[in-house]
């Protein structure tokens, strides 16, 4: 009974809050006669979303495609690098400074170079977004692969487990909670990377994403469409987070402290 109330609270309250805020916003723009080119009303944004759905939905698909591709690339690459790094301290010492360098250099600064180097526009955007999303996967997975219960490690040693058995049966499962925490960060970062890269790429020809729509709307002072595009980006971010959280709960739910309710 209590948990059902809690669930209701957790879903109903945010929705109620959103409705109240949107109501205030709507009332304010109507009553104060705020011009639509400064702050459009929620109602106008919703109308624009429907009116321009053809344009916005294809842009949304482009942004989602780049985000997902970058996220997958970052995951695969990050896991490979992490596996390499835990194999020996030498490899880690050689790789880690560059991984950090990659992390601390702002993507906006590297993006123009990548866009020049990589001819294919989609590929160049994916590379940029991958670079943004990569580091949390590398660092979290590395920490995870090292965070093995010392008692279990001693047990595996005692049973004369091979390196491969230890990796598969002990290190990988131990790393999963850290890996999933990394995934959640990287999922959001992949979207940010995709949007930032699109901004930098600027005048992309065909197949442009939501960031380009925002730029265009800005030039045309179509602020309602800008808000509509922004809404879609925000919803995409929420979608990415929610699906990764669900994946994490599905994998870790049975045993790890972080997912046990």
């Amino acid at each position: 009974m209590n948990t059902r109330m809690d669930k209701l609270k957790q879903t109903a309250l945010p929705v109620l809050m959103a409705l109240i805020l949107l109501g205030i916003w709507q009332a304010w723009t109507v009553l104060a006669e705020v011009p639509a080119y400064l702050v459009p009303s929620p109602w106008l944004i919703a109308q624009t979303l429907i009116k321009d759905w053809g344009l916005l939905s294809s842009a949304l698909l482009v942004t989602i495609k780049i985000t997902v591709l970058a996220f997958v690339c970052a995951t695969v690459l990050g896991v490979l690098v992490a596996f390499a790094m835990v194999q020996s301290r030498w490899i880690e010492a050689a790789f880690l400074p560059y991984a950090v360098l990659l992390q601390v250099t702002p993507i906006v600064a590297i993006a123009p170079l990548i866009i020049i180097w990589v001819k294919d526009p989609t590929a160049s955007l994916v590379v940029c977004a991958t670079l943004v999303a990569l580091f949390p996967i590398i660092s979290n997975t590395t920490i995870g692969l090292r965070s093995v219960n010392p008692g279990l490690a001693a047990y595996f040693q005692l049973q004369k487990a091979t390196r491969w058995q230890t990796l598969l049966r002990l290190r990988v499962p131990s790393a999963l909670p850290y890996f999933f925490a990394g995934l959640r960060i990287s999922g959001g970062l992949a979207l940010i990377g995709a949007v930032v890269a699109e901004f930098v790429a600027g005048t992309g020809g065909t197949g442009t994403g939501l960031a380009y729509q925002i730029l265009q709307s800005g030039y045309q002072l179509d602020i309602a469409r800008m808000f509509a595009a922004l809404t879609l980006i925000a919803l995409t971010g929420v979608g990415v987070f929610v699906s990764l959280a669900a994946l994490s709960r599905w994998v870790l739910g049975g045993w790890h402290e972080s997912e046990i309710r």
């Binding site: 008692g151 279990l152 049973q159 499962p173 999963l176 049975g254």
Partner: protein, 251 residues
């Protein structure tokens, strides 16, 4: 033939840490097959160190260790179970690592779980079990390989007294039934007296053996045994030896 060979034969085994700390002065010991030997002593007396050297987890700095049968199992102070795997997979782990075929492995897991009374919990995850039950799983994992020698490092140290007494009694039953040789580390005198056929008392700073005492109390030992005069007398004797050993300056 088995009676002629010691289960464990230690000759001048010692442990000096790289920083020069002497964890254990040279120890020579002969443990016969079928004995239940307790290494008893305070923290820092080197009892766990000695056990780890017998298990091969730690290399002695000097001396020789001979085992008649290297087929041994080690039970740690913590249950050291894989939290992501259910009880069945946890118990099956040593067989999986050794490449035993799945049907046979599963059958042996069932037998081991039966021995510790956990058949009904095969599908449970470790976190769903109490501390005592987790320890039982750990013991089942130790028994599933059908060892001749069971090495236990303060296995029930973290449990409450009632649970510990129950597990002690069950362990004795397993020992008799399976014909095991057991080396058991503890810092509890009563636990040592209850379990052992022989107590090896150790002292700290530096770690050393101070007493090698047979416990000839009658079998079978059940909970009532804990209140018999013989039991109390053994406890009193060991207590006395322990305080004497602690006050004696080390050689």
């Amino acid at each position: 033939m088995g009676e002629l060979t010691a289960a464990i034969d230690l000759q001048g085994v010692e442990q000096v840490y790289p920083n020069g700390t002497r964890a254990l002065q040279p120890v020579s010991l002969r443990i016969e097959p079928g004995e239940f030997v307790t290494l008893l002593g305070p923290s820092g007396c080197g009892k766990s160190t000695l056990l780890k050297m017998v298990a091969g987890l730690l290399k002695p700095t000097a001396g020789r260790i001979a085992l008649s049968d290297t087929h041994l199992s080690f039970v740690f102070q913590e249950a050291t179970l894989m939290p992501w795997a259910d009880v069945r997979s946890n118990v099956r782990l040593p067989l999986d690592l050794a490449g035993v075929a799945r049907p046979e492995a599963n059958q042996r897991v069932d037998e081991a779980l039966q021995l510790v009374g956990l058949q009904a919990f095969a599908q449970h995850r470790p976190r769903e079990l109490s501390g005592g039950m987790q320890m039982r799983v750990s013991i089942a994992r130790g028994l599933v390989t059908r060892p001749r020698l069971l090495l236990m490092d303060e296995p029930f140290g973290a449990l409450d007294e009632i649970t510990r007494n129950k597990l002690d009694a069950d362990l004795l039953e397993l020992w008799r039934q399976q014909g095991l040789t057991v080396v058991f580390v503890t810092h509890s005198i009563t636990e040592a007296v209850f379990l052992s056929t022989r107590v090896i008392m150790m002292a700290a700073r530096p770690g050393r053996v101070v007493l090698d005492q047979r416990i000839d109390n009658p079998w079978p030992r059940d909970d009532d045994h804990r209140t018999t005069p013989a039991f109390n007398e053994s406890v009193r004797q060991l207590q006395h030896s322990l305080s004497q050993a602690s006050s004696e300056p080390a050689v």
